[in-house]
Amino acid sequence: MNKVIILIFLLINVTDFESKPDQFIARQGQVSFFSYTSVENIEAKNDQVLSIIDLSKNEIAISMLMNAFKFKKSLMHEHFNESYIESDLYPKATFEGKIKDFDILTDGTQTRMIEGELTIHGITKEVEIKTTIENIDGRYLFTGDFEVAVKDFDIKIPPILVPNIAKIISITFRFEYQPYEK
């Protein structure tokens, strides 16, 4: 957790001598997750995900509040926060990584792999995420999806609810970045 805070501060404080901004921010990034089983479908969305990218170093940092996910039913929200994710103990999920082979000069769309550490429920895993990067008039749009296994993050599901929750959760994301003005 501290590493992410340090990283974000570093990204923010690095002085910028060039005319073209290196740092871009998305304060209202979207992250959704889906769990499909024959018993029920669960989906939730977080519209207030923070992300900062530094294109001079090809670095990306993401931080989100787990209790800001919105569900269709309040009981799902309650179970998610109190029993599974334990958002009192682990309020944030974070990701920090590097965009591989990113070419700042490419206009339009490029698909790149982002490699880094994903921390959910206090557990950190190395992940590699395929991301579509669009450059629209000097702004950036990152979109993509990936999957995580519930068991990788030490999330305990009571036996009675096992059929209701998928073993593999799909996650989609969409970040619209703007030049970061200090």
Partner: protein
């Protein structure tokens, strides 16, 4: 009605009532009625941001998951990703209070202007770079001058 029928009748009506209640509980939509929810704390936006910046943990223990009313000056209104968001100024430009408004607030939000003083009620979720409030409502919208 003899006794046996009475018992059966009571049994079934109890099951029906419990079932109905359970169905209602399971399908409850979150924060449908924030209007009627009791406000835990009143605070202004700069103060709220300062508290989170100074000590996130202690601010979390006071404000996290609480219904709060925040008074502040509109810094920006955005409609990104089909969400209606009002940002309230803090004492520095670094942070603000990010209020995710309820869908029925669109009309009032469209009338808001930068620099206007407003009061917003919502559920505080915590702090990233901004303090995040969800399910927000404008209260006492001042009449346009």
């Amino acid at each position: 009605m003899n006794n046996r029928n009475k018992i059966i009748f009571f049994f079934f009506s109890t099951v029906l009532v419990i079932g109905g209640y359970a169905y209602f509980e399971f399908n409850k939509r979150p924060y449908k009625d924030i209007e009627t929810m009791y406000t835990d704390t009143f605070i202004n936006s700069s103060e709220l941001i300062s508290l989170f910046m100074l000590n996130e943990n202690s601010a979390n223990s006071v404000y996290r998951n609480k219904v709060i009313e925040v008074e502040g000056i509109v810094k920006e209104v955005t409609f990104l990703n089909n969400r209606n968001t009002v940002l309230l100024q803090g004492s520095s430009t670094y942070s603000s209070v990010l209020c995710d408004m309820k869908d029925d607030q669109v009309e009032e939000i469209e009338k808001l202007r930068k620099g206007q003083k407003v009061k917003i009620k919502g559920v505080c979720k915590g702090f990233l770079k901004d303090v995040i409030l969800l399910h927000c409502l404008l209260i006492n919208t001042p009449i346009n001058e």
